[in-house]
Symmetry: D2
Subunit: 329 residues, 4 copies
């Protein structure tokens, strides 16, 4: 079986997914849609697929699945439309910035029985997945404490910030999902400290650029998350899981791993510059998992509910900062 | 000038300090006092010093300074006595488990003008001190976020726990001091999550064995602390300071740093087994700094106030856990 | 310009090159030829290219370049044929196991003016290339001493050994090329020690499985090579260049770079299992460089002469072992 | 039993051994002798020992053992004298620069039954010793190939070079001993390449500053040694042992092991500046082993014969360079 794809959105992440689809032996990219004609043309030319409107893709009988890479405020509507159209849906996170809207959307998904997978790409990073596997294999016993470090190389422009939903819903949300992925138990309490240390404009927009979060579960497992919108040394992405029998950790990845030594010491090059290069394999593996779930009927994961819970944790973290107390979820 | 020492307490840590004193060219160990006769005899034999009572040391004209390594509940009384006796005082942490008692004690120290140094040994670890120096040298710009990981190889016996004052006052207190040492600005808010994951007996005694703490300062700097009473791989002691221009980190230390590779992968030996071996150099450097402060008149640091503030942070962390909210200090 | 390719040989390495060609925006895989019909069919199906005979490819007007991945004893003949047919040629190493035959072949290449590139893939590894770039950038001053460690995960079967030309011409030849790439000056003296430590059958076939080689240049630069047909921990591929101002080194690569710590220590997974996974990027970069040289007219490198010199060094190393003395080349 | 020591030579290395003796609970430093009065006085003051002449130490009934740290050309004479005087002898390497003179000297040692230990300190480095132990424990199976990297931070002055016996007898001799220590089988063939890359003056004195050596044993085990009189990044001291079941390696040591990351990458400080700081523990362990051998009667190791064999390998390496061939020993 070959899964036939329509791609909604031909921007930066759309291109990544287009490549993942066309490189996958079990899939075919049939069409792309994008409001910007040139973006659609470029992607069409690069991958030899048609250009269609979203409406045409919705009605197409030669398309089994869609990948939604359009702006965030269109996600929930598109998920509903394509659920009803009987397509399998891969949607970039978040489904929506509003928890209530996400709930409505997931009700439609449930009602229609559509396949929905949400783009928490980091679960598919080979290194992070290997940590999860080590846990499953019993290598570290029961999980006790998780530490997640996630720092962007630089702050995004003000325009991006103002539409992002804030750092917790935009950036930390990935770490909330990773925390759940690693803890293996739902967080029930959230505390966050947040401040503006990197860029004052971010503060003027009512957002933060530096946050620390503690999550804890009913049985007392804990997770600490450290986020910053600044990391001069590259895209800092580390996880560490401490269990009753040991520790499992995934260190940062580098594009080039040489070392130069001289009188100043031993120097290795900086990390990857951002998520596009850091998570190349994760993106390919993610789409492969989506294709596999369509082909085999295995439930797609992370699901819409995973998207919802991560968003709810983000909301709780924000409330924790505003109210100066631990929020129970 | 040779600083002449009396040692109060010939137990485990007393022996460490005795060695530091006798190895230091600027100091001499004159006498030791210990309630256990055999302990005093052994230490006396090992270092060729006299055995005296605490009273005799207090009145001795051939002793300039004392090192207090007796049980915690005697610290404040001894500091007061030796302050009045005109001796310079090095006291193992904590001064007392009760903040009010510490305040009274420090009032006496102030009144008498005595030199008092508190044993936060980690500031003198060459690796941690080098991180502090990198900050001072401007290598990472303004400090923004500090991460401290501190895990003991195993939980102490119930007897120890019940007299310890609890994990925050016994164990995390070192990390609170390290946080202040690295942040360079006083924490004003504390949030902690705590649970019992390692040993149920610890919970039955009303204490915790696994804690996560966030500190934040007035300008928004943040520090995250992760503590566990368990680490199967050895004594886990790491710090990481993230600043506006870069990152400075001190990794774990190993007694032997070889690597064995085979079909199972590449394996390095476990870390040091505990603080006695991990912080050998720190203990020697600490006493050297104390001797230097006596010899030169440079103010002893960390001071009694440093001891007080760390204890107040520990109290705040405990309140945060009990009340489920961020505590302002 | 799109470079149109014919692929000669659809075996293991042929598949790697087919993928490199089809993933390259500047190239097209037109046809494949293989004596084994099924191999040709499989590759044709995977990449949507035609199946042709070698004769047909030689005469085809829609093919600009060929990649030769057939058995070693056919290489020289094919290079000559396709040189005369006016095709650009990429040939897997070695051109031939006999230096004299290589010389004749290169004479034909020269006479016809054909483009010929030899498959010393390691020059195109991003990490090794970064070491070369560090040298070119002056980061380590003048190159003085090079150390190359190259160990296969396991010994090949006897059948392979007997047709391989021996360890120096089959395995060390890559390191001879790497030595030249890094030294930046021709070796003029070769000494080798060789023995059979891994598999007695290899000795019975007159070959060795463990060798150490020293190369030196006219100005006194030195290179040490350490080879074994055994490495229980994976495919061990390291280079280190020591210069007047510093050291540049490329460490081993791992498919997954997590670390598990417990009472036995800290363990990282084994290295890549062999060259196919270790040098994935190198193979793609190598073909990209070949395509670029065709498209732009930049001389293809490594050239046939590079292939010849590496083979001559292999011959000299073997003579050194047999005669117990340093061989001047 | 307390072993009572006389120290011959109060220079740089003499001070190191004096400290090792006085810190050892089983030993006492009774007297020091040095031709330079001030050196003897300083050491006497630092350790509270007497100043005596060599004659007085030879005849002293309160001295059991001597440590010889005088200039190389006095070693053999002193060993003979103190052997006849019935003292246990620790002698810094080399016994003499002339193999024949060493043989005569060892004959006297044998005849008198004296205890003689030679100062190959590296065997006592905790990391190198741990590699040896891993071999003994069977962790890597049968030893096959050893790699030793040993580079000095900088070239010594011409005066030192001219009395040193040349790089093989002065510097590589330590690596020859380490090779024997790790191979567990005597080298039977030596090949060396040598050149002058660091300092022309060294060449003018007839010596080399950059050498590569291959040793091989009767069963075919191999060892590669890489030496340079230059290493801008500190004192480079690494060993690696490749066996039938795996690899054991000891990496370089650093005085401070922090890491600073910024836009230029991740930088760790340089290595130790030279042997005094790198091998601090090794020197203490070495003297402890000597004391133990006197106290328990266990044969002192490394022995005079170990000193002789390492010197013979150095001579063979030099011949190999001069004659351009492999030398059988």
């Amino acid at each position: 079986m070959t899964v036939r794809f329509g791609l909604l959105g031909a921007g930066r992440i759309g291109k990544v997914h287009a490549k993942a689809v066309t490189s996958n032996a079990g899939a075919k990219l049939v069409a792309v849609a994008d409001a910007f004609e040139q973006a659609a043309k470029d992607l069409s030319a690069a991958h030899g697929c048609e250009i269609r409107t979203i409406d045409e893709i919705e009605k197409a009988s030669d398309i089994d699945a869609v990948i939604i890479c359009t702006p965030t405020d269109t996600h929930a509507d598109l998920i509903e439309r394509f659920s009803r159209a009987g397509k399998a849906i891969f949607c970039e996170k978040p489904i929506d910035l509003d928890v209530e809207r996400v709930r409505q959307c997931l009700a439609v998904v449930k009602e229609t029985g559509a396949t929905l997978m949400v783009g928490f790409n980091r679960r598919f990073d080979p290194h992070f997945a290997a940590v999860r596997k080590a846990i499953d294999d019993g290598a570290i016993g029961d999980v006790e404490m998780v530490t997640i470090t996630s720092r962007d190389p630089g702050a995004p422009p003000a325009e991006y910030i103002s539409r992002s939903g804030g750092i917790f819903r935009d950036m930390t949300i990935h770490d909330f999902d990773m925390a759940r992925f690693l803890l293996g138990e739902e967080p029930v309490a959230v505390t966050a400290h947040a401040s503006v240390l990197v860029d004052k404009k971010i503060g003027e927009l009512g957002d933060y650029d530096s946050v620390s979060v503690i999550l804890s579960t009913a049985s007392g497992k804990q997770c600490v998350i450290s986020n910053s919108r600044r990391a001069t040394y590259g895209y800092d992405q580390r996880i560490e899981v401490h269990g009753s029998k040991g520790l499992a950790a995934a260190e940062n990845q580098r594009p080039v791993s040489i070392e130069i030594a001289n009188g100043s010491g031993y120097t290795r090059p900086p990390l990857h510059d951002f998520f596009m290069t850091r998570y190349t394999e994760a993106y390919a593996n993610e789409i492969a998992a989506f294709i596999n779930s369509i082909a085999t009927g295995v439930k797609a994961s992370p699901s819409g509910e995973d998207g919802l819970i991560a968003l709810a944790l983000a909301d709780a973290a924000l409330r924790s900062v505003k109210e100066g107390k631990t929020i129970t979820v």
